[in-house]
């Protein structure tokens, strides 16, 4: 009896540190997806390609002996350029956003294979990654936790700062109400181009860190990145209400990304035998649908009464 109870608990304990580390690394992608999907109101598929691009560029550069910091920066710049490309397809050629993203993703699939020297994968064992020194001094797990955590917190902090500035606020207005934004003198096309660049630079940074943490890259490592990113966003928003201040929403996204990793790892561990790593995409999609469905059925009523109350209060005050 006791043993039966203990098994899940040990499972939780075993998967926790690794999942949190993974969650930190993936949360940078998640914040990128949050920026495009929630702030700009654009479902941008390019992250599938740019996530992998960050990994492949970093790996290729590390292999020829480029310092890790430079390799990561070049990877992120690659993501930025790809994001700008998607945004230009969308704003200047008027291609629907979803198709623009898919086109970029397709182009990047070919590019990623070329970056890896016409190979589908590349091992990074023995290369000087960001985590390596720390991993030798402690353990790979601790190194991933610390490096991932630092980058995740820096990304949350930087996003909070950026979207609180005058420029960042104009980006939020662009996503929320482009007509109003233009009427207020905001160049909405310009904002979309820059912000999709930033969003994809974050995706690439996330991919670069994952490549280093795994000591391995594959050209298709970004496959499913959009769903994983959305899962983090959706899980985060399940706990943080939309009316809460912006900082909470960002922290919610970070938490959602970590939570997603824990849930997936637990599902694989506890249902070992039924589910394999191949089922991860299935579990992810079901998880997103479940959370969205729960939100649909629970959140509608209380939100409405709240808005009525405010309007009524204001009206009462005017009488």
């Amino acid at each position: 009896m006791l043993l039966q109870l203990c098994a899940p608990l040990t499972a939780v304990f075993n998967v926790l540190p690794g999942s949190i580390a993974d969650g930190f690394i993936w949360s940078i992608l998640t914040i990128g997806v949050f920026i495009s999907y929630k702030i700009l109101n654009i479902a941008d598929m390019s992250v599938e390609g740019t996530f992998a691009l960050g990994g492949t560029v970093t790996a290729a550069l590390l292999t020829i002996g480029v310092p890790v910091s430079v390799a990561m920066i070049v990877g992120a710049i690659g993501g930025f350029i790809a994001g700008v490309f998607t945004a230009i397809l969308h704003t200047k050629l008027k291609i629907p956003a979803i198709l623009s993203g898919i086109l970029t993703m397709f182009i990047l699939y070919s590019i990623n294979i070329h970056v890896l020297g016409n190979k589908a994968s590349l091992a990074l064992l023995g290369r000087i990654t960001l985590m390596r020194k720390l991993a030798e001094a402690t353990s790979p797990m601790v190194a991933n936790l610390i490096v991932g955590g630092i980058f995740a917190l820096l990304t949350v902090g930087a996003s909070y700062w950026f979207f609180g500035t005058k420029y960042g606020s104009s980006v939020r207005a662009t996503g929320c109400n482009p007509e109003m934004a233009r009427a207020q003198g905001i160049n909405t096309d310009g904002r979309i181009i820059l912000t999709l660049g930033i969003s994809n630079a974050l995706a690439a940074l996330s991919g670069s860190l994952l490549a280093q943490s795994n000591n391995n890259v594959t050209a298709n490592m970004g496959s499913g990145a959009i769903v994983i990113g959305l899962a983090g966003v959706v899980l985060g928003e399940a706990f943080v209400k939309e009316k809460w201040p912006f900082a909470f929403r960002l922290i919610g996204v970070l938490a959602g990304s970590v939570l997603y990793r824990i849930v997936i790892a637990l599902a694989l561990q506890l249902l070992n035998g039924f589910l394999t790593a191949d089922d991860m995409k299935l579990i992810s999609a079901v998880l997103i649908i479940a959370v969205l469905a729960a939100k649909r059925f629970s959140a509608k009523r209380p939100l409405k009464t709240k808005s009525n109350n405010l309007s009524e209060n204001l009206n009462a005050e005017n009488k």
Binding site: F162, T165, K166, R172, N177, A183, G185, N187, E317
Partner: protein, 259 residues
Amino acid sequence: MLKINNVVKIFNKNTINQKIALNGIDLELEEGDFVTVIGGNGAGKSTLLNVIAGVFSPDEGKIILDGKDITNVPEHKRSADVARVFQDPMKGTAAEMNVEENVAIAKMRGKKRGLGWNVTKEDKKKFKELVSQLDLGLENYMSQKVSLLSGGQRQALTLLMATINKPKLLLLDEHTAALDPKTAEKVLEITSKVTQNQTTVMITHNMKDALRFGNKIIMMNEGKIVFSASGEEKKKLTVNALLEKFAIVGNQTDRVLLS
């Protein structure tokens, strides 16, 4: 101040759905003029406002604001000089942002938006004072998302945002049409407060408002200005006189709608 020269706007040019929305409009406004625009549905009132605001360029003609040809200046660059309030109360504000963030965005209209904090402590105080002038109690809800406000409150806020940095020209596109009569009255009160000495173009469907507001009036039909009056001549106009003009230009259906 504002000079509109022979402006023509054709939608779906050279197709079977071709529609001449503006057919040679000439209009001149002096500084401080307040012109009300009336006319039936499809008369070209909103198209005229959109051409002035730069939502789209005219096919022919010129728009000159303060001596500067702005005919082909893009919308977002024009908005430093030309402010707008839309008919739909949802269009003028960013719903997911709070009241003071919206005001802060309007405050930067026509200026370079840098990396300084959007709403500083000092701004908070200033904006609260500005919003309290609306007399709606909104100043107690500065950090509430605009989506929680009613249509009238949002429209009043949009008016404040449009006039916060005095624009050269204010465009009001039936901005009270979507509101209930009592709220519309309140928003009109605010309108007259914020448009003191403000060059304004206001479209309205309400004849009484068209006569009550402004020193000039124009009536549009099928993309043309068919009647205009200003000063003393406008003061003498009555709703019935306007309806008669409508009958002459052949808008029988509108006559029923408007009376």
